[in-house]
Amino acid sequence: MSKFVLHKIESIKGIQEFSQLEINGEKQLDKFEIELKDTTYVSEFKQLLVYMEYLANNNPLPKTKFRELKGNKDKVKEYEFKSKHLRLYAIAQHGGKIVVLGGFKKDQSKDIDRFRAIKKQYLASL
């Protein structure tokens, strides 16, 4: 059984609280950022943080940058933040969102499967 912990995303300031999920000691957003270090995707990663912050302040985002995922089979909403090559997958939490996973656009399909599996485990752990 995985161990889950929530951590506030400190780089984002907003009305809504944005957190990242730690799974067995690994903070998922930080892990994704480390994966992108010294690549050309760092710039896109920063854009994703700004999208989250904009939404955290109850501002609208273009549909090309943020959407609610379809095909959700439970009541906890699922979201995707999008840049040209990167994706962040998040779920709703009271008064904000939880970033569960980060990945590349090219891996979107399998990442969404993984995201949903993690989400299921996390919700079961509550």
Partner: protein
């Protein structure tokens, strides 16, 4: 990545401006019941151009930004603020929800004004989430007489 690093990045500000423009144009379209084609015709630009703006990908000349803003009945104003001041004040002005139905100004906060026409507004903003009060100063270049409307972007 810590907040200071993010705020010091060009991506942070470029993306914020793109999103603010998207928000202003979207609001204008909704208010005037326009679709993308109609808006493109009204602004005398291509539909693809409008799509770029509405996708939050606007990265054109300053003159185009001004043109778009004016076409939507908004005056774009650029402000410069010291990064350390922004970090200190936590960027709270920008992060408040803007209501374009109440304002006539698209504020792009980038610098502190020392112009005589500048009005410094002190605001106390209750951050209900933490049940804590933050006080911050925001500087606007206000050339009109109706300051209430010009500063409504903070509300």
């Amino acid at each position: 990545m810590n907040r200071e690093e993010l705020i010091n990045s060009k991506e942070y500000w470029t993306t914020k401006i793109q999103l603010d423009l998207f928000k202003a144009i979207s609001h204008y379209m909704k208010k005037n019941n326009l679709n993308r084609t109609q808006l493109a015709k009204k602004l005398n630009v291509t539909k693809g151009y409008v799509s770029q703006v509405l996708n939050g990908d606007f990265d054109h000349k300053v003159s185009k930004l001004v043109e778009l803003s004016l076409a939507c009945g908004l005056t774009p104003r650029i402000q410069f603020e010291k990064i350390e001041d922004y970090v200190k004040n936590d960027g709270f002005v920008m992060e408040k929800e803007t209501k374009f139905s109440e304002v006539e100004t698209l504020v792009i906060p980038l610098y502190p004004q020392s112009d005589k026409k500048t009005t410094i507004i002190k605001e106390s903003v209750a951050k209900s989430e933490h049940k804590q009060k933050y006080t911050h100063y925001s500087t606007y270049l206000i050339s009109g007489t109706n300051n209430k409307n010009k500063t409504a972007i903070c509300n």
